[in-house]
């Protein structure tokens, strides 16, 4: 039976020849992930289940990244729970400050996910690893706690929506714009219970960091997972990171899809999501002047080295507008180091940006750059719900790194073309 790449990975992990959409299956998990917010409850569930040991101490990753460096006593307690659990069960991949960063940035960076893997994380943006041709999805803490004990979980095989991107990407238009445009098209409930498969000539040429950005926001359409067929670009990315080559699966040409959506990119402009929903998307030329109190460059969506590089290219010799705060947070320790080496951090500092330690930062409004009542921010992250970055009466606009840099310079939402 012809299958999509998602169906092939699920079948392989369910020990079956084939699976089809709608079936409930039980699967083996290659990697289980939790962060500082979700791990404590998952660990509680693990203890309650009474399992003597974790299913595999090398297949669990615990990454405190949301409220670190610990923002208050309660957060410190939460991280302590994870740390003690990691020590007690000799969890191999527990990353503390100094070797860490945002979970979805560091797991691929450290080579912990290979093509064909099945990854379950207690964080909705676990879908990021679909960029590598893995099946990955988010769950809650209880599901994850059960996985810590058993190494298995159940799931429903999703139907797949195929997205085909055609044409040539204009200058300043990248993965973030593609996914924002797609969200504008299908909506925040456009792919509920479905898999999104990203294909087409544009995708075949798309560099790895931008694939991560796109897969990361599959959940913003309600999707279970987002996935790319692994190719030469994936292979080059994996080189030197992992000794597990992975399974380079592809969808069968006759595989059946729930829908096929074709998107022409030739005339696409940089895209911006307006408050308060990631599908409230407009091309940048349609926006009136939107003054900004804060610009945030970072997050698991756009905190990678290439994102910082693109923004720094625009900020070279420029200054951040008076009255606008520009916060830059590298996605991981090694991105931070490399950005220093390349002079990127110096460019940001000279322009008047403030640099935060690798973590989620202001993305979820709890720490490092929280917005006051009535304030407006542009962020390279993935969500702009009411109160996402602070006061319920603050506003968040979402865009890519080039728009973020141009906007920081102009003090209002601006296209890089304006510079």
């Amino acid at each position: 039976m012809p299958m999509t790449i998602t169906e092939k990975i699920l079948a392989a992990h369910a020990g079956r020849e084939t699976v089809s959409p709608g079936e409930l299956i039980q699967v083996e998990v290659d990697l289980a992930l939790a962060n500082d917010i979700t791990a404590p409850s998952a660990i509680g569930v693990f203890y309650d289940l009474g399992a003597p040991e974790v299913f595999d101490r090398e297949k669990i990753a615990l990454v405190p990244d949301h409220f670190v460096p610990n923002k208050d006593i309660a957060s410190a307690q939460q991280v302590k729970v994870s740390r003690e659990f990691a020590q007690r069960h000799r969890i191999k991949h527990f990353f503390e400050l100094g070797e860490t960063g945002i979970e979805h940035v560091i797991l691929p960076e450290k080579g912990l996910v290979s093509p064909g893997d099945l990854v379950i994380g207690a964080d909705s943006h676990t879908c990021t690893y679909g960029a590598l041709g893995a099946f990955s999805k988010g769950v809650g803490s209880t599901d994850l706690g059960a996985i810590l004990a058993t190494g298995k979980t159940w799931l429903k095989v999703p139907a797949t929506i195929k997205l085909v991107y055609e044409g040539r990407l204009p200058h300043w238009v990248g993965g973030k714009d593609l996914i924002l445009y797609t969200l504008g098209l299908i909506g925040v409930a456009g792919a509920v219970y479905c898999s999104l498969e990203f294909t087409g000539e544009v995708i075949e040429r798309l560099p790895m960091p931008q694939r991560f950005t796109m897969a990361n926001m599959a959940v913003e359409a309600g999707a279970k997972n987002g996935i790319f067929e692994p190719d030469e670009i994936t292979k080059a990315y994996m080189e030197g990171r992992s000794d597990r080559p992975g399974d380079f699966l592809r969808s069968d040409p006759e595989a059946s899809y729930d829908q096929e959506i074709r998107i022409m990119v030739d005339d696409m402009e940089p895209q911006v999501a307006l408050p308060h929903s990631p599908d409230h998307v407009r091309p940048i030329s349609e926006l009136d002047s939107v003054p900004l109190d804060q610009v945030f460059l970072g997050s698991c969506t756009n905190g990678r080295l290439e994102d910082l590089r693109e923004a720094a290219g625009l900020l070279e010799g420029q200054e951040v507008a008076k009255g606008t705060r520009f916060i830059v947070i590298p996605g991981s320790q090694s991105i931070y180091k490399e950005a220093i080496k390349e002079g990127i951090i110096e460019t940001f500092l000279d322009a008047g940006a403030v640099i935060g330690p690798p973590c989620c930062g202001p993305c979820l409004g709890g720490h490092m750059g929280v917005l006051a009542e009535g304030e407006r921010a542009l962020s390279t992250s993935n969500r702009n719900f009411v109160g996402r970055m602070g006061h319920p009466k603050s506003e968040v606009y979402l865009a890519g790194p080039a728009v973020a840099a141009a906007s920081a310079i102009m003090g209002r939402i601006a296209s890089p073309e304006e510079l």
Partner: protein, 202 residues
């Protein structure tokens, strides 16, 4: 047992109707019902609205419950009665995977949620922590804020007592019913775990 464990299980500030956690409550002739006042919401209620991220530095249900809908409906926590029912449109619980969202609702006293549809992770989390949820296209269209509604989990019947309207919820998949019947995933697994730690066959 570590102290955070209670939160993982959905500790509650108010007594939760015991029968809902009773195995068999969804089955047969028992006719398990709850009745409560309706709190009405729109489409795409996200988890940041249900429990804002800045309160996620704790995991305990009773702590989280204090901030349930803190930004948009601060009146809810003050006035909710145990067993009240939240009614919403499409895609309820979209956004993050935080299990603290259904946990906060349950601990605040919400007895069930009826929506046109639920976000995938929320749907799963709700069953896992034992918060009953029902899907219906029509009911949320016609139920109003403040209505008194009764739910029968054995039949999926939704009845607006004040207006004498009847609806039937979409059936819950058998496997999910079993989890809810057991009182959540942990209890379900404990009950059915084999010696080898295997999950029960689906």
């Amino acid at each position: 047992m570590p102290p955070f464990f209670e939160g993982a299980q959905g500790g509650s500030i108010k007594e939760f109707p015991k029968d809902l956690l009773d195995p068999g409550c969804l089955e047969g002739n028992k006719g398990m019902k709850i009745e409560g006042r309706v709190w009405k919401f729109g489409d795409h209620v996200d988890t940041d609205l249900i429990i804002p991220a800045r309160y996620l530095n704790v995991s305990e249900g009773h702590e989280l419950a204090k901030y349930c809908f803190a930004d948009v409906r601060p009146d809810l926590v003050k006035e909710v009665q145990v067993g009240d029912i939240a009614v919403a449109g499409v895609n309820f619980g979209c956004g993050s995977s935080r299990e603290q969202a259904p946990l906060a609702l349950k601990a605040a006293g919400i007895g069930a949620v009826i929506a046109k549809s639920f976000a995938r992770i929320f749907y799963r989390n709700a069953f896992n922590i034992g918060l009953p949820i029902l899907e219906s296209e029509e009911a949320p269209e016609q139920i109003k804020e403040g209505d008194r509604v009764s739910l029968d989990f054995s039949t999926g019947a939704i009845v607006v007592i004040s207006g004498d309207k009847h609806f039937l919820a979409r059936p819950i998949p058998d496997f999910m019913r079993a989890i809810l019947r057991a009182g959540g995933l942990v209890k379900y697994l404990k009950k059915s775990q084999s010696a080898a730690g295997d999950l029960p066959a689906l």
